[in-house]
Structure formats: structure tokens, C-alpha cells
């Protein structure tokens, strides 16, 4: 982020300025152009500085959670650090959800929070909370700045910690008296960095050579890539594509890694995991060599752990040593940046490519073709009601030739989006994977739109999720951010209902969305535009109208209410025990968990 050459030397020869001015100067010197925030008593001096400058644009949100998700969407779509600014007390506590979200999905995020004056800390002052205490477990690191002369150094350090190693969120808590106090500004180049935080670049030479050797002799290989490839930058995705092309290995990806390898690629198996494709999960189960690149064996990926890919040798590339052997034992751990490791891997593969028997994996591809033929994503089309899968497919067809970014909320619509929207490039797909935050998608889309004002940004949403951060419509309208909200409206918390059907005796406890707002009127009330579509025949025209509308749109897509998301690995089952759509009769669904399992429910 920081480039000493481009650092603006502060005009004051002594670099003396107020804490609030130091904040703005430090942000500028760290390349920040946009911040997302909400003012309040304990950050007024910083807002005063924001008012008096034009270099950094402040986006006024309507709830601090929105600011955090906007910063996340901004970060994920640009590769830059996202910045949010909140006040003390409730401002900071409202930031907790996006901080944890960013922690679990490894998104670089700097959260600046105001704090009551140092003399009042600990006195239960108005809008006081122990921000560093509350945010300690949901950040990579956090700081309480007690001396204005530490402020610049700490902000520079915050950007460094957030963006280096495994990226993540950090909090800098700044008491109001520190914002008013005058101190010395040190530019990033002159600031001493902390002694401890230096994510190690390890020498993996042997491990990489071993891994490539293992891959060369694989009969049933599979590449399992994740969000780490996206985080590593576009070069990493390029190298991944090259490795796939050179090796002709089949490749699947986690929810977070979609787009690193193009969905149109010949070796693409589709997403894996709980709602992954049959071919991806069967390949994972039956493979003899698994190459895990920038993914972390999440429980939504592995299914039943003691039945996960039982006969494979596993290679795991991850920048975070704590990800190695956390839940799944791996045979060859490689600790390092995905891009750097892949570079070596591709080079080594190339060097020895002549000795590789290219036909050795042909029988494996035959098996995969058989699995593909099961068409695990198929669904019964319907002429009277819109099937949710069909809605995503049409949305994809009508937007794929454009410069499109997709975000989602969390639930069935998220899985359908992942299954049916084809991602060709990294950084085009923003979703809450680890934390599963309903309410993520819309603010994230706003953040993406801020970074890419000319692009088409669509939040694929559910009728329940969208209501969790709907207030940001006002933000979108205020800044002319023409974000599109595409709601798959089935009047249920669909994924909750699906689990209740599957695992809780079909008792649909509180999963029906009663008192649904009229989304068209809601959009209009905010100053946006609303579109409702109820018939499959009207869908294309309606989607085109949505795309062509230059203001924020809420698209109320009424879909078949009781459709469930398949294929599915029920909780506690193995990859080869998937429920496929054609097998998922009411009976099969009811018996997905055997009697023994149900007693444990």
C-alpha cells in the first residue's frame, strides 16, 4: 500500500498537526481514497477535518454495520484495504459483525473508532465501551492510541498488519482528546515498524518439489482452490489457470474462491462442499492426490470429517501456519503466499512435464464425465412460476457480457448464485462465506459500486436477508450508486426452512416471513426504483429494464416458494452421501438423517 516515493510531504516543516489531521494525512499516505463511516460525538474532530479537505471521499452510511460491509466489498473488489470510521460505544459495537466477517474471510479492513477522552476511560462515560476489549477476538490486532505522537505510526502499522500475511481487520481506537491534541506526523517511510509482525516467507523449496513429484504420479488428482487465491492477487489466479492447463487436473473451488479459475474452463467441476456439484464432491472423495490451494478445509467443505477424502495424499498451500492440520491432516504442507508458491510449482511442473504420462489420468476423467452426467444441478422447469435457479441463469445470461460484479446475502439464494452464476474472473464475487452474515450483500455492493462507478453491481438477495441492511438504500440514493438488488423472494428464510424440513421434523418454526414489505413501494420510498416480476415469461424484459435503470433498483423476483437447494450433503454426512435433486423426494428428505442421528438432533 505505502510507497515512500509518492508520499506527500506534509507542508508544515515540523510536521506538527492535530491528531485529527494526522488521521487524514495518514490515510492519504496509505493511498486511501474512500472511507465509509458515521459521525458521532467521539469522532467529531476527525469529521471536522474530513469537511476541510477533498482528497478522501467519505461515504455516509445509515448503520455502522453497513460501513463495515461496504469497506469489505470495496476491499474484495479492488485488492485494496477497506476503511471504515465509527464513533465510540454503539458505533464500535455495531462494527463488530463486519469485523468478524472480515476476519473469517481474510479481508483487509482498517476500522478507525472514536473513544471517549483518555481521562474518562473506565468511568462508564456516555457512549463509552471497551472497544479494544470487545474487538480483540474479532480482529487481527487492535490498538488504543493514548499519545498523539504514536498516532501516525500506529495507523501506518494498522494498514501494514491488515494487508500483509493473511489479510484481516484491525481497529485503531482514538480517544477524543488525542484527536484534539497536537503532535508530530511521521510519514509511512519514516515510521518504525513493529518488531514482531513479519509474516515469514519460508523456504518451501523441498516441500514444493515433493508436491510436484506427488502430482506427477497422481492417477486421480484434484485441485481444490479457495479465497486465498483471490487474496493473493490476479497473478495468482493466472498461475492457477496455467497449472491447470499444464497438468490437465480437474479443479473445484470453495465459495470464496469462485472466479479464480473460469467457470467456462474445460477442467472446471463447479463448486464443492455442502451445496457443491456431484462431480466436485465425488472427485474430492475418490481422489488420490488433493492439491488444496488457499483454502482451509471448512466444515461446509469437508462434510463428515472422518470420511473426508479417505484415500488421498493431501498438499496444502496456505499463508497461515495455523490453517495447516487444523481439522484435516495434510501430507505436504506448504506455508506461503499462494502466488509465490504457484510460481515455483508451475516452473517445476514445466521443467519435468516431458516425463509425465499425460494419459495416466484419462480413466479419472472418464469417471468425472460419468459424475457430470448425473447433472446434479438440474431442476424441474416451470412455465407458471419462476424457479429461483432459472432466475439466476437468466440474470447470468443477460449480464455476462457486461462489466459485472455480484454480491450476495446468505442463504439459499447465495448457494444458487454460486451454482448458477458463472464467474470468469477473480474479485467479481463478494459473499460472506465464513461468518455467513445476512445483510452483507447490499452494503458490500455499495462498496463495490463506489470503487467501480461505471460497472454493473448486483446484490443477489433473499427476502429475509435484504431486510437486515435495507437502510443503506438511502446511502445508495444519496451518492447516486445505481446498485441493483435482485431479491429471490420466496417468502421464507429458505435455508432455515430447508434445515427444519430436513433435520427438525418439518416443524417450520419462525422461518416464514410474515408482514413482508412491498419491495416496489419500499424502493420508491427511498427514491430508487422498484420492479416486480412474477412470471417466467416476463423475466428477461424485467431484468433488462433493471440493468438499464441508472438508479438503485430493488427487483422483487417472486420465485417458487418451496424450492430447496440441492444437491446437498446433509450435516454429518460424507461427500459420497449427497442428496441429488432427482433423488430428493419428500421421503428421501425426511429420511436423510437416520434414526440414530435424529436422536442426537
Amino acid at each position: 500500500m505505502t510507497n515512500p516515493q509518492t508520499t506527500n510531504a506534509p507542508t508544515d516543516p515540523d510536521n506538527q498537526m492535530t491528531g485529527a489531521a494526522i488521521v487524514l494525512q495518514a490515510l492519504k499516505d496509505n493511498g486511501v481514497e474512500h472511507i465509509f463511516g458515521y459521525p458521532g460525538g467521539a469522532v467529531l474532530p476527525i469529521y471536522d477535518e474530513i469537511f476541510q479537505q477533498d482528497d478522501i471521499q467519505h461515504i455516509l452510511v445509515r448503520h455502522e454495520q453497513g460501513a463495515g460491509h461496504m469497506a469489505e466489498g470495496y476491499a474484495r473488489s479492488t485488492g485494496k484495504v477497506g476503511v471504515m470510521l465509527v464513533t465510540s460505544g454503539p458505533g464500535a459495537t455495531n462494527a463488530v459483525t463486519p469485523l468478524q466477517d472480515a476476519l473469517m474471510d481474510s479481508i483487509p479492513l482498517v476500522c478507525l473508532s472514536g473513544q471517549v477522552p483518555t481521562s474518562l476511560i473506565g468511568s462508564d462515560a456516555f457512549q463509552e465501551c471497551d472497544t479494544v476489549g470487545i474487538t480483540r477476538p474479532c480482529t487481527k490486532h487492535n490498538w488504543l492510541v493514548k499519545d498523539v505522537n504514536d498516532l501516525a505510526r500506529i495507523i501506518h502499522e494498522a494498514f501494514r498488519v491488515a494487508s500483509s500475511g493473511r489479510p484481516g481487520p484491525v481497529v485503531v481506537d482514538i480517544p477524543k482528546d488525542v484527536q484534539f491534541a497536537t503532535g508530530t506526523y511521521t510519514p509511512p517511510s519514516a515510521s518504525e515498524t513493529a518488531k514482531t509482525y513479519h509474516p515469514k516467507a519460508r523456504n518451501n523449496g523441498d516441500a514444493i518439489a515433493q508436491a510436484v513429484e506427488l502430482m506427477r504420479h497422481a492417477k486421480r488428482p484434484v485441485i481444490y482452490s479457495g479465497g486465498g487465491v483471490v487474496n493473493s492477487g490476479p497473478e495468482a489466479s493466472q498461475l492457477l489457470r496455467e497449472l491447470v492447463e499444464q497438468s490437465n487436473f480437474p479443479i473445484t473451488s470453495t465459495l470464496m474462491g469462485l472466479g479464480s479459475y473460469p467457470a467456462s474452463g474445460a477442467n472446471w467441476l463447479g463448486m464443492l462442499g455442502m451445496h457443491g456439484t456431484y462431480e466436485a464432491n465425488m472427485a474430492m472423495h475418490d481422489c488420490d492426490v488433493m492439491v488444496c490451494i488457499g483454502a482451509r478445509f471448512d466444515d461446509r467443505i469437508t462434510g463428515r470429517l472422518n470420511a473426508f477424502s479417505p484415500n488421498s495424499k493431501k498438499i496444502h498451500i496456505d499463508i497461515d501456519p495455523s490453517s495447516i492440520n487444523k481439522t484435516v491432516h495434510v501430507d505436504i504442507p506448504i506455508i506461503g503466499d499462494v502466488g509465490t508458491v504457484l510460481e515455483d510449482m508451475v516452473r517445476l511442473w514445466r521443467a519435468g512435464s516431458k516425463s509425465v504420462d499425460k494419459t495416466a489420468i484419462n480413466p479419472w476423467w472418464d469417471s468425472i464425465r460419468e459424475w457430470r452426467a448425473r447433472k446434479s444441478l438440474s431442476y424441474k422447469s416451470n412455465n407458471d412460476v419462476i424457479m429461483p435457479q432459472y432466475a439466476i441463469q437468466r440474470l447470468y445470461e443477460l449480464t455476462k457480457h457486461r462489466d459485472t460484479y455480484i454480491t450476495t446475502e446468505v442463504g439459499q439464494h447465495q448457494m444458487w448464485a454460486a451454482q448458477f452464476y458463472g464467474f470468469e474472473q477473480p474479485n467479481r464475487w463478494m459473499t460472506s462465506g465464513g461468518l455467513g452474515t445476512m445483510g452483507y450483500g447490499f452494503p458490500a455492493a455499495i462498496g463495490v459500486q463506489v470503487a467501480h462507478p461505471e460497472s454493473l453491481v448486483i446484490d443477489i438477495a433473499g427476502d429475509a436477508s435484504i431486510q437486515m441492511c435495507i437502510q443503506e438504500m438511502a446511502c445508495a440514493v444519496q451518492y447516486n450508486l445505481p446498485v441493483k438488488i435482485f431479491i429471490l423472494n420466496n417468502q421464507y428464510m429458505g435455508m432455515v426452512r430447508q434445515w427444519q424440513q430436513l433435520l427438525h421434523g418439518n416443524r417450520l418454526s419462525n422461518s416464514y416471513t410474515e408482514a413482508m414489505p412491498d419491495f416496489v413501494k419500499l424502493a420508491e420510498a427511498y427514491g430508487g426504483m422498484g420492479i416486480r416480476c412474477e412470471k417466467p415469461g416476463d423475466l428477461d424484459e424485467a431484468i433488462t429494464r433493471m440493468i438499464d435503470t441508472p438508479v438503485p433498483v430493488i427487483f422483487d423476483c417472486r420465485v417458487a416458494n418451496l424450492t430447496n437447494c440441492f444437491p446437498m450433503i446433509p450435516s454429518g454426512k460424507a461427500h459420497n452421501e449427497m442428496l441429488l435433486p432427482d433423488e430428493a423426494t419428500d421421503d428421501a428428505v425426511a429420511n436423510a438423517i437416520d434414526a440414530k442421528g435424529r436422536q442426537l438432533v
Binding site: 476489549g133 514482531t196 470429517l305 487444523k326 481439522t327 442426537l600
Partner: protein, 190 residues
């Protein structure tokens, strides 16, 4: 708690952990800055790890470095995770598993010592007996009047445990233990 306690990875099918838990002693070198201890123990409570003993003090005043000694209990796999998770904490410089290091050096365990202050009150025969035993355990009397002693005892945990157990019937009033201080044998540093 931890996924490793549920090998199925599902709350709908909980299976028992079968691997055997062991006690290990970790040395953690950290920047002595506000909140650093909270980060370390928050990690243990947040991820469901055990703390059997915890000792912390600044060891290098000029560099503001503190050394935290933690005795923890877990399966080898959990212990490895604890070490990796500790290393992620920004102000943590180094984490050394002293028990593993001792095994590498061909020893059963690292040097581990604890200090305890023990107050015993009584008169007559039990008082004489307490003093006699204290002498046998090389405990020092650091405070006394005609009705009580305060002993200072240093040694292995087992020795301190034993001494306390013996003092119980002889009028044990109060115990304060420091937790374990530990390092490896041999000329090398941590």
C-alpha cells in the same frame, strides 16, 4: 468448542475424541504492552483450550519483553494448533514448546519450578511437626509468631503438592502458588 472434539464436524453427529491428552509447557515471548496477556488468555478461552498454570512477568525491561509460561493440556494435534494460533498474535515474538524441545534433547521434560507461600497455624505437637517437615522439604520460614508459620517452598509441582497435602492436618490456613517457571536444560536459549 473445537472441531477436533467432533471428528464428524457436525453437531448432529457428535463423536468422542479418542486421542490422548498430554500436558505441555509453553514459553511465549511477548511485547509487554497493554492487553497482551488478555490476547493470550482470550485465545485459550475463545478456542476452548485449557490453562493448567500461567506465569507472566517482564524479563527484559529495556526491550519491554515479557515471558509467559503456560502449562496446557491437549492432544498432540491441539497442542500444535495452540502454538500456531499463539504465533498469529501480533505482539507475540516467539513460542517454544518446552516439552517438545526437551524430548528433542533426549529428556523427559523441561526444568519446571514453582514457588509457594504456605501459612500454617497451630500449637504444641503439630507445630513442631510442621517445622520438622518444613525442614525436610527445605521450606524456609519467612514469617512466624507463637501460633503460626509462613513457609516459602520452591521446587517441582509435585513437591509443592506433597508439602501442602502434608500440612493440611497440621493446621494449613492459606496457600499462594506462583505457577510454573520453566526453561530447557543445556547451554542454548529459547
Amino acid at each position: 468448542m473445537n472441531a477436533q472434539h467432533q471428528p464428524t464436524g457436525s453437531a448432529y453427529f457428535i463423536a468422542k475424541e479418542t486421542a490422548k491428552a498430554e500436558n505441555h509447557t509453553l514459553s511465549v515471548l511477548v511485547d509487554n504492552e497493554p492487553g497482551v496477556l488478555a490476547r493470550v488468555i482470550g485465545l485459550f478461552s475463545g478456542r476452548g483450550y485449557n490453562i493448567e498454570s500461567l506465569t507472566v512477568s517482564e524479563t527484559e525491561h529495556q526491550a519491554h519483553l515479557s515471558r509467559i509460561t503456560i502449562v496446557t493440556r491437549g492432544t498432540p494435534h491441539v497442542l500444535e494448533q495452540i502454538k500456531s494460533q499463539l504465533e498469529r498474535i501480533v505482539p507475540v515474538h516467539r513460542v517454544v514448546d518446552l516439552t517438545v524441545r526437551a524430548h528433542e534433547l533426549g529428556q523427559e521434560r523441561a526444568l519446571e519450578r514453582e514457588l509457594a507461600l504456605i501459612k500454617v497455624s497451630g500449637t504444641g505437637e503439630s507445630r513442631v511437626e510442621a517445622l520438622r517437615l518444613a525442614d525436610a522439604f527445605r521450606a524456609q520460614v519467612i514469617d512466624a509468631n507463637t501460633e503460626h508459620f509462613v513457609f516459602e517452598i520452591t521446587g517441582k509441582v509435585s513437591k509443592v503438592d506433597q508439602f501442602i497435602a502434608i500440612m493440611k492436618p497440621l493446621g494449613l490456613i492459606e496457600v499462594c502458588r506462583t505457577g510454573i517457571a520453566a526453561m530447557n536444560r543445556g547451554p542454548q536459549g529459547m
